[in-house]
């Protein structure tokens, strides 16, 4: 029997794609599997055990760094999302006005500048500010994180605003709602999934940051990624795998949630 001729098929492409998916997940899978190794090797399997998770849990430095990471990510994500929401409202559903393109470029600026350069720039700036003010707390990290998280929070919020049905807002103002009332009771409830998606994206981006944190942090302000970066230079035990696995699970949970939130409501016309 002759195979039907498919115009979409390209020879070998499916194989390469499968190979690609395999390669993408192989290192991560290996990493996760060996976090359950009972031996202290990261290549020779000696049996199942949770000892490395336990050892990570009892490692004071790991716990402190994790808590710090979560604190910074939470505060920075909230600030970034609040700023991004306002900015998204200001840059959508409006006739073009002078400065709109400049706004776009400024908001997207953190995505364009190489991270290492931003890191160095902040190191210079904050080292001055530290001398002037004497303050050396987590504030610097939070400000830095919030700034580079804004474009990430901005994207899903703006996408949501642009895909929203305008007729409801028009109806509200036809019924004499003030612009604040329209925003509070019509726009905001509809926008909420976008805002949540932006918040989660910002949170994950902040949680993952290594380079900027590495340069901005003061002594004793290691976050989990910078702690891990420091440890990678030494002999690595499966404890690193265990920390990574927990980290992966948290990120994955947030991203999966984001995936479902940012999906536009399924329409029946498909």
């Amino acid at each position: 029997m002759a195979k039907t001729f498919s115009i979409k098929r390209q020879p070998g492409f499916a194989t390469i794609a499968m190979f690609c998916f395999f390669l993408l997940y192989l290192p991560i899978a290996t990493l996760v599997v060996y976090s359950f190794n009972s031996g202290s090797s990261i290549a020779i399997w000696e049996g199942f055990s949770l000892r490395w998770f336990q050892s990570a849990w009892n490692n004071q430095q790991v716990i402190e760094a994790s808590v710090r990471s979560l604190q910074i990510a939470a505060v920075a994500a909230v600030i970034a999302t609040a700023c991004a929401t306002l900015a998204a409202i200001a840059t959508t559903r409006t006739a073009p006005y002078r400065g709109l393109t400049i706004k776009y470029s400024i908001i997207n600026m953190p995505l364009l500048v190489p991270e290492i350069v931003t890191a160095v720039a902040l190191l210079i700036l904050f080292s001055r500010v530290k001398v002037w003010t004497g303050y050396s707390g987590l504030g610097y990290l939070i400000v830095a994180h919030a700034a580079f998280c804004i474009p990430f929070a901005y994207m899903p919020i703006r996408a949501r605003l642009e895909s929203m049905d305008l007729s409801l807002e028009r109806a509200a103002s036809d019924l004499y709602a003030s612009s604040f009332q329209t925003f509070r009771y019509v726009t905001l409830p509809l926008l909420w999934p976008g805002i949540l998606a932006g918040l989660m994206l910002a949170f994950v981006i902040s949680l993952d940051d290594v380079v900027i944190t590495e340069f901005v942090k003061s002594g004793g302000q290691d976050t989990l990624p910078t702690y891990m970066l420091g440890q990678l230079r030494r002999v690595v035990t499966p404890e690193m795998n265990a920390i990574s696995t927990v980290f992966l699970v948290i990120s994955l949970a947030i991203v999966t949630l984001f995936f479902f939130l940012s999906r536009t409501p399924q329409k029946d016309n498909e």
Binding site: L24, T30, V120, A146, A147, F148
Partner: protein
């Protein structure tokens, strides 16, 4: 009468624009304070003299920029080209380029594969591509390290089978850096490629086959020209972060195989030459800007021809 009505609309228009500025002010101020503004300080610092213990002395100097290209001998002040800097910049460009090519070779078929799935399955495949992207880059780099190190899974496996008797040294080589960057940046290639492949009009491909084109002919002369904007977008999106990569070469390259990012860090750490570090940073930004400009110009050109 009409004049005042006009005035009123103008007033409203002005208030509208002012409100918009007010609303976007927090985001703009924060980004300017912690991203754009500091960049200007870097430019300023590149024209100052280095302090003895890091930081700078407040006097104008072009020594930072001079040091990007030349080195001055400590003893007799003879000037020679800064070979180390050239070779590091050159290595960065080479590695970033190779990474882009590998991402394209693997990413194109993958994006094509996803784009030709049934519509309701595509988002799941796409999700599988984005998951690694949202997981911590450091962890992914660490995962690659685990796989390729001397006591890692590949070497252990190969030695058990008996193909090799001593582990292959893969860590701390340019190959390791390239492999790591390809692994880390692959999703950045697949996503824009998918975006253009998804819009591909398969009637054109059918027409190609009707006119007796081969599979390869269709790929080379119809599909690739049509998705060229996506190829360029993906290439830039991979090339730019690869060029300025810091974590991957630091972890997988060890201390010897530096890239620009590590060279910059060195000036602010052990090197204690902040103006040189600042000048190197500005150089990197300029290279990145050129890549971006090239991308924007190409994107607008192909956008225009698509309508024409």
């Amino acid at each position: 009468m009409t004049l005042s009505a006009q005035d009123a609309t103008e007033q409203r228009q002005k208030k509208h624009v002012r409100d918009r500025w007010l609303l976007s002010a927090p985001a703009l101020i924060l980004i300017i304070a912690a991203s754009v503004g500091p960049l200007l300080i870097v430019v300023l610092y590149s024209f100052l003299a280095p302090g003895s213990y890091g930081d700078v002395k407040w006097e104008f100097s072009t020594e930072g920029w001079f040091n990007v290209l030349f080195t001055r001998d400590i003893f007799d002040d003879t000037v020679s080209l800064a070979d180390a800097h050239f070779s590091i910049f050159w290595r960065s460009i080479k590695l970033a380029f190779a990474t882009t090519v590998f991402c394209l070779i693997f990413g194109f078929p993958t994006a094509y594969f996803i784009a030709t799935r049934a519509p309701h399955n595509r988002s799941l495949w796409l999700f599988l591509i984005t998951i690694p992207f949202w997981t911590n880059m450091l962890i992914r780099t660490f995962a690659i390290q685990e796989v390729i190190r001397s006591e890692g899974i590949i070497n252990t496996l190969l030695m058990k089978i008996g193909i090799i008797s001593a582990p292959i040294q893969m860590m701390f080589t340019d190959f390791a850096i390239m492999l790591g960057m390809t692994y880390v940046f692959l999703p950045l290639m697949v996503l824009p490629l998918y975006a253009s492949l998804e819009k591909l009009d398969f009637r054109l491909i059918e027409a190609g086959y009707d006119l007796y084109a081969s599979r390869f002919g269709v790929l080379w002369r119809i599909i690739i020209p049509l998705v060229k904007p996506g190829i360029i977008a993906g290439s830039i999106l991979v090339f730019v972060p690869a060029l300025s990569s810091y974590v991957v070469p630091r972890v997988l390259g060890g201390g010897k195989n530096l890239m620009v990012g590590n060279l910059i860090e060195l000036q602010f750490g052990q090197g204690r030459n902040w103006p040189l570090g600042a000048a190197l940073s500005v150089t990197l930004v300029i290279i990145v800007l050129f890549a971006m400009l090239y991308y924007v110009r190409n994107a607008s050109k192909s956008g225009g021809s698509a309508h024409g």
